[in-house]
């Protein structure tokens, strides 16, 4: 909890938004929204997927032109027409999709447009030194000269945050900064945020993790369907009320009970890997996936979870070991092979590896199914519509318009459509890398329920998540990774947050130690 000596509402207001309205064609993304951010306040902006949070942010920073409304910064009306204007006015933003430049070095990304120069020449060494020091504050000790693309999403996200924070703005806006971070990084981020708030900077924080909201925020503002539902002090707002504000209905809290774990051996082995691995990528591992069973992969950033998933799906070719399906050895050299065997894979990097932005939601949903059926058996338009509508309803994708280009959907809804893409193929094995990233509380519960249902129908699941609670909730077994090797397998009652943490941190300092 941040410093609460002054009642939050009494703080001098820094950013005042009145009557903000924005539509995209017929879709009203924001209607008459008011929002006030005080000095030194951390203010959560909440709402379901597609509620308009990101749109609000983009309108404020001038990425989208607003239709109506006023924005005042420290009393002066501002009307930025591009992100550049907003930065100059003192609003620094981390947008939801990591918007950095994968081809540039980490250091260039941090200092683009404001590199230290002498006689017009960028002082490379000085810039790298500063960048390195800056990232150390966030617990990253990396080669800042390497291209950003060579680092994981989490590192990219931290880089984006560090850049925004370092702009020394008056207002800092963070759109789901924690979606791909694990506890350790989140701790570090919160420490930084608290320090900034203490310096009087106002912070807008968007997140779907309510625990985090309760941990760090002073006030919350909730949007629903583009309308303002209300602004509350967090201390006066019980969790269930907050959820009701967001969803407009009650949420059956099912999220925190453990999956019934049957003895492993009772289930039929569906896919198994022996000595599977690739040099310099992931050490050889054995892994058995059974029908109806969820296996969780846990580990720190960079421990090799995504790499394991890519190997299992053939996106990276293994150079040792073998894979077998129902006891028969199979070839697994490409995603196409994997899809042919009935595997599915939702990658972690939604924008670059997941969606085909130009295509419609319908086309994105039927893509994998169509690829598997081959060219000669095209799905008729009617079949496509049927499939698309079935999953749009099942996963509550909004707006429920199958003909919308998927790139125009909100982040969480894109994630749901990707899940639908694989569900439509009725896979035998589904690999999910951070499946609930950016998904709102309501949908989160839905997806967890869905995962369970799928298992009941005999699907094998391999799930990667940075949220240990989530892993514990639905996993029958958890494989713990460290340094690109599978180090431990927990099953039955051993599947607990504390034992996973213990396995992860076997020879590393705990988060608290690093944070202190």
């Amino acid at each position: 909890m941040s410093d609460s000596s002054a009642p939050p509402a009494a703080r001098p207001s820094l950013l005042e938004i009145r009557g903000l309205t924005k539509s995209f064609g017929a879709l009203k993304a924001l209607q008459d929204v008011d929002f006030t951010l005080g000095e030194g306040e951390i203010h959560a902006l909440l709402g379901e997927n597609g509620a308009g949070k990101s749109t609000l942010i983009k309108v404020v920073t001038g990425v989208f032109a607003r239709d109506a409304g006023t924005v005042r910064l420290a009393g002066d009306e501002i009307a930025p027409r591009s992100a550049k204007d907003a930065v100059e006015a003192g609003i620094a933003t981390v947008y939801q999709e990591v918007n950095l430049l994968p081809n540039l070095s980490v250091a260039q990304n941090l200092y683009l447009g404001r590199q230290p120069t002498r006689f017009g020449v960028v002082r490379q060494a000085e810039m790298r030194r500063r960048a390195h020091a800056l990232l150390l504050d966030y617990g990253l000790d990396i080669d800042v000269g390497a291209p950003l693309a060579s680092y994981s999403v989490a590192v990219q996200h931290i880089t984006a945050i560090a850049r925004a924070v370092d702009l020394s703005a008056r207002v800092l806006i963070l759109d789901e900064p924690t979606a791909s971070l694990d506890r350790h990084e989140v701790e570090i981020l919160f420490r930084v945020m608290r320090k900034l708030a203490a310096d009087g900077i106002g912070i807008v924080f968007v997140s779907h993790f309510l625990d985090q909201v309760y941990e760090i925020c002073d006030r919350v503002t909730v949007l629903r369907n583009g309308r303002l539902i209300g602004t509350r002090d967090i201390t006066d707002l019980p969790r269930l009320d907050l959820i009701r504000m967001m969803l407009g209905r009650e949420l059956a809290e099912t999220t925190h009970e453990r999956a019934a774990s049957q003895p492993d051996t009772a289930r039929e082995v569906c896919v198994s890997f022996k000595g599977f691995g690739k040099q310099g990528y992931v050490a050889p591992f054995d892994l058995e996936l059974r029908r109806g069973e969820v296996v969780g992969l846990a580990g720190l950033l960079g421990s090799g979870r995504t790499e394991t998933a890519r190997l299992v799906f053939g996106a990276e070719r293994a150079d040792s070991g073998e894979a077998s399906v129902a006891g028969k050895a199979v070839r697994l050299n490409s995603p196409r092979d994997a899809a042919g065997l009935g595997f599915g894979y939702c990658p972690e990097e939604r924008k670059t590896e997941g969606i085909v932005a130009d295509l419609t939601v319908r086309e994105n949903i039927v893509l994998a199914l169509q690829a598997r059926r081959g060219l000669h058996r095209p799905l008729s338009r009617r079949e496509q519509d049927e499939i698309a509508m079935r999953y749009i309803r099942m996963l509550d994708i909004r707006p429920p318009d199958p003909e919308r280009p998927i790139g125009l959907l909100s982040g969480g809804n894109q994630q749901k459509a990707l899940l639908a893409r694989w569900l439509a193929t009725s896979p035998k094995l589904l690999v999910l890398d951070e499946p609930t990233r950016g998904i709102d509380v309501g949908a989160h519960a839905e997806i967890i329920r869905l995962v369970r249902d799928l298992c009941e129908q005999g699907l094998a699941l391999l799930v990667i998540s940075s949220e240990l609670d989530e892993i514990v909730t639905y996993s029958n077994r958890v494989v713990v990774l460290r340094d690109r090797a599978h180090v431990e397998e927990l099953k039955g009652d051993a599947v607990e947050v504390s034992s996973i943490l213990a396995a992860i941190a076997a020879d590393a300092p705990t988060a608290q130690e690093v944070a202190s």
């Binding site: 430049l101 960028v122 680092y151």
Partner: protein
């Protein structure tokens, strides 16, 4: 893979090619041929430098050949018919080129149109204007022209490092500095990485676009001036098709057409590789028109395949660890 590796590989391919050619025609390994290579490709090197910026930023500029043609005609007319002193004519034509490039950049940015087509229209326009100016080739007799073309640093072995070759080398060095060492250069790479992200990071994308195409057109104008020194004439049909040679040189030099990666040094190597191919064919001298074309294609393929192969080898030998380790985790 690192940019320096790709440049090193291209350089290795060039040296190997040169050695093979010299083995067959020992005359090739002389300062004379090497100096000729620089002189003959001076204008190409200069436009290619500009094109490197454009391509790295994710665009393309098809108008450069026509801009060269326009420049030669304009300079020739200005000096010979309108009585403008040569240096004033150069300044004037460069200003015109800058305006032309800025206009293309502005259209691309403001109307969100593909650079390929906008600059294609620019190509028609510049060539069309040169036709209007004059369809005949106009010799330039100003004294500065013969003075410059007579100037050369004599190298041992009969080579002559001419003024225009020196000009190209200077421009390449300056371009390399601009691209690799300044904020402007970093922004060029940024644009090629992602326009949206660059805009969201607060870089003025519009003015960058305008400046990049301006730079390309100005360098094309400079190349045109160099071309006019090279031939001491202005001709509306000069440098037809040079845009493709330029793009090929840039791409062979390791610059990605999708933007975001590349270097001026690589481009220079690409220009030399193309020059090599032509020199080899000229030395051979037995080829009919069609075998010349086929041989050019085959050699181009051999160079690219070699480069690609070496690149794949280099990638294989340096498997990158993709992840990071948080502070405190020791190995």
């Amino acid at each position: 893979m690192k940019a320096s590796t790709s440049v090193a590989i291209t350089a290795a391919v060039l040296v190997a090619g040169f050695a093979l050619c010299a083995l067959q025609f020992p005359n090739i390994a002389s300062t004379r041929v090497v100096a000729n290579l620089l002189t003959d490709n001076a204008f190409l090197g200069i436009v290619a430098a500009g094109m490197t910026f454009v391509i790295i930023s994710g665009g393309i500029d098809l108008s450069v050949g026509s801009v060269i043609g326009f420049t030669t005609v304009f300079v020739a007319l200005a000096v010979e018919r309108w009585g403008i002193p040569p240096f004033a004519a150069f300044a004037l034509v460069l200003v015109l080129c800058a305006l032309f490039g800025a206009a293309m950049g502005a259209v691309i940015h403001v109307f969100d149109l593909p650079p390929f087509i906008v600059t294609l229209a620019g190509m028609f326009l510049a060539r069309g204007i040169s036709f209007l100016l004059s369809t005949e080739s106009i010799p330039i007799t100003a004294p500065i022209y013969s003075a410059v073309s007579d100037f050369a640093i004599r190298l041992p072995g009969g080579g002559r490092l001419t003024a225009i070759a020196i000009a190209m080398l200077a421009i390449l060095v300056l371009s390399a500095l601009l691209l690799h060492l300044t904020r402007f250069g970093a922004n060029v790479y940024a644009l090629g990485g992602s326009r949206t992200a660059t805009a969201l990071m607060g870089i003025p994308v519009g003015s960058m676009t305008i400046r990049i195409y301006m730079l390309s057109s100005v360098l094309a104008g400079l190349a045109g001036i160099v071309f006019s020194f090279y031939t001491a004439a202005g001709y509306s049909l000069s440098a037809v098709g040079v845009e493709l040679d330029t793009i090929a040189a840039v791409v062979i030099g390791g610059t990605l057409l999708t933007g975001g990666q590349g270097s001026v040094i690589g481009t220079f190597l690409g220009v030399l590789i193309q020059g090599m191919i032509q020199t080899y064919i000229n030395f051979d001298g037995t080829l009919s028109s069609w075998w010349t074309k086929i041989a050019t294609g085959v050699l181009l393929f051999v160079f690219i395949a070699l480069q690609q192969g070496l690149m794949a080898l280099a990638r294989r030998s340096s498997v990158k660890p993709a992840g990071v380790k948080p502070v405190g985790v020791s190995t």
